[in-house]
């Protein structure tokens, strides 16, 4: 029999972290700090709209790019929150989560050999998506000394004549790092000079604990070379609804729409109706969740200081990224030992790229009680490690 598989797909490694997750799921009494989604339920009025749409029998396809009402609401939301202006008719595309948007943006923009700059540590799908779109991923290793922000120097150094796209994953999963306006201005200058395009994954934009989130597309001349990706999963605690969107200049969005149309048809109709409600009447919910996350974030940082665990202060998403180098273990070893000895699950930084070595991701999408309990166990664990090191 011939080999049924494509040469491209077999070069992509399955995520190594799965093994670790399997151990966690089998451990009955483990406390997990490992999930990447909100602990809140979707606010009831949003769920209610979803239910109502089913009751009314709205069970058909929507138009490929999404419900008109939803696109109008998205356009208004981006305007009022980030000062971005996109026309609902041909510059906004409703997708199955932010992840579909990442995939189709790359497929619409890459030719074989084009290089895609991917800052890491970051979410795991950029690299395989670039490869599947025939692009060549090029990793930029973000540094803790820069608070895991991308600097103009780092960007400049990674650019070759083949570079076409920069992926900009901020607020960042797993580090919690954000890019402020000044940081964005600095890299925008480089992007313009080298005529690059940006895929800006802003899925965590509503979870920013500084003044407000700034989108790179709001800087001069950047709108026409940026695809902004966002969605409802993190801001409105709607992960399971699978709903996101991409916005950008018509010329790119209409090509993305072709892929979406043939591969997906349209995003789930129920979710789209629920999302209309989320954007019309959900700003208060988002504020409430943001305040709650912020309280937990401050609590974690306080506890790290108490136990002498080094961690730069994250200002976005719901992750902290403490450094564990002092214990002389790899991230993987640390996470495995912590799970075995204290039954606390965290994610090794290396799951998000080699530059995550020496760090672990701790999510605070958990109740305070849960966090307190888990942090107590982590403190015990590192105290024991330090004692052992001293005995030697």
């Amino acid at each position: 029999m011939r080999n049924p598989l494509s040469k491209t797909i077999v070069t992509i490694e399955p995520s190594g972290i799965r093994k670790f997750f399997d151990i966690v799921s089998e451990m009955e009494d483990a406390i997990s700090l490992g999930v990447g989604e909100p602990d809140f339920d979707t606010p009831w009025h949003i769920r209610d709209e979803g239910i109502y749409s089913l009751e009314k029998g709205r069970t058909f396809y929507t138009s490929n790019a999404g419900l008109k009402e939803l696109k109008i609401e998205i356009s208004r939301f981006l305007e009022r929150r980030y000062g971005l202006s996109y026309h609902y008719d041909d510059e906004i595309l409703v997708t199955v989560g932010g992840s579909e948007a990442i995939d189709i943006a790359m497929r619409a923009m890459l030719d074989p050999g084009d290089e895609v700059l991917i800052p890491q540590p970051s979410y795991v799908s950029y690299l395989p998506c670039a490869i599947l779109a025939n692009g060549t991923p090029v990793v930029i290793e973000l540094k803790e000394e820069n608070n895991f922000r991308l600097t103009a120097e780092q960007l400049e150094a990674a650019i070759t004549p083949k570079t076409k796209i920069l992926v900009l994953p901020f607020p960042n999963n797993p580090t919690g790092a954000v890019m402020e306006e000044e940081d964005l201005k600095a890299i925008a200058e480089v992007i313009l000079r080298h005529d690059l395009f940006v895929i800006s994954d802003e899925i965590y934009s509503e979870l920013t604990y500084l003044d407000h989130h700034v989108s790179i597309a709001s800087l001069p001349e950047m709108r026409e070379r940026t695809i902004v990706i966002n969605g409802f999963s993190k801001s409105h605690a709607m992960t399971g609804w699978r709903l996101g969107y991409a916005c950008g200049p018509k010329a790119i969005v209409e090509q993305m729409l072709k892929i979406h149309q043939f591969a997906i048809m349209c995003a789930p109709t129920t979710s789209q109706y629920a999302a209309v409600e989320a954007l019309r009447n959900g700003d208060g919910d988002v504020q409430q969740m943001r305040d709650e996350y912020n309280g937990r974030r401050r609590y974690l940082m306080h506890r790290y200081r108490e136990m002498g665990l080094e961690c730069f202060e994250p200002f976005g998403a719901f992750y902290t990224f403490p450094c564990i180098r002092e214990f002389g273990m790899t991230s993987d070893e640390f996470a495995t030992e912590l799970l075995k000895k204290k039954k606390v699950a965290v994610v090794p930084g290396t799951a998000f790229g080699a530059s995550g070595e020496g760090f672990i991701r701790i999510s605070y999408a958990y109740s305070m009680e849960n966090l307190k309990l888990a942090l107590g166990r982590i403190e015990e664990f590192i105290t024991e490690l330090r004692e052992k090191a001293q005995e030697k």
């Binding site: 995520s15 972290i17 670790f20 997750f21 966690v24 799921s25 997990s32 490992g34 999930v35 990447g36 989604e37 602990d39 979410y123 795991v124 999963n173 797993p174 305040d291 912020n294 309280g295 937990r296 401050r298 609590y299 306080h302 699950a345 994610v347 799951a351 998000f352 305070m368």
Partner: protein, 159 residues
Amino acid sequence: MREKILTYIEKNSKINLAELAISLGVDETAVLKELEEMENEHIICGYPTLINWDKAGIEKVTALIEVRVTPQRGMGFDKVAERIYNYPEVNSVYLISGGFDFMVTIEGKTLREVSQFVSEKLSPLDTVLSTKTNFILKKYKDHGTVMAAPAKDERIMML
């Protein structure tokens, strides 16, 4: 800061003050001071506990009583309300809009105890025109809290 403190303690009056201060990113003494002031100003009126008596196996009967009254000259609704809320059996008294005037909740050990209160104390009041007693059969949610145990965390590890 007041609103933030109130939002936290409305959900959990047992919250540790040091932790509350950390969560708000302020000094613990500042939180303490605000709380004291709000207690003095009677913004914070108490710290009762939400109890699921059913689960404790202790019998309690609660009734919601709709009361119609005639406010008398020189004696507005406030005075009538005072007559009613001074009874220790009375849990809450609200003046409401609609078909009747007061919504009164009464808690007693038995049905009999509650009906006795209504027939012997509440109804005979001069100003009370009529009452309608609704017994609570089951409490599903109280003070924004669902009485049933919260659902298990079903989220899976995901990057």
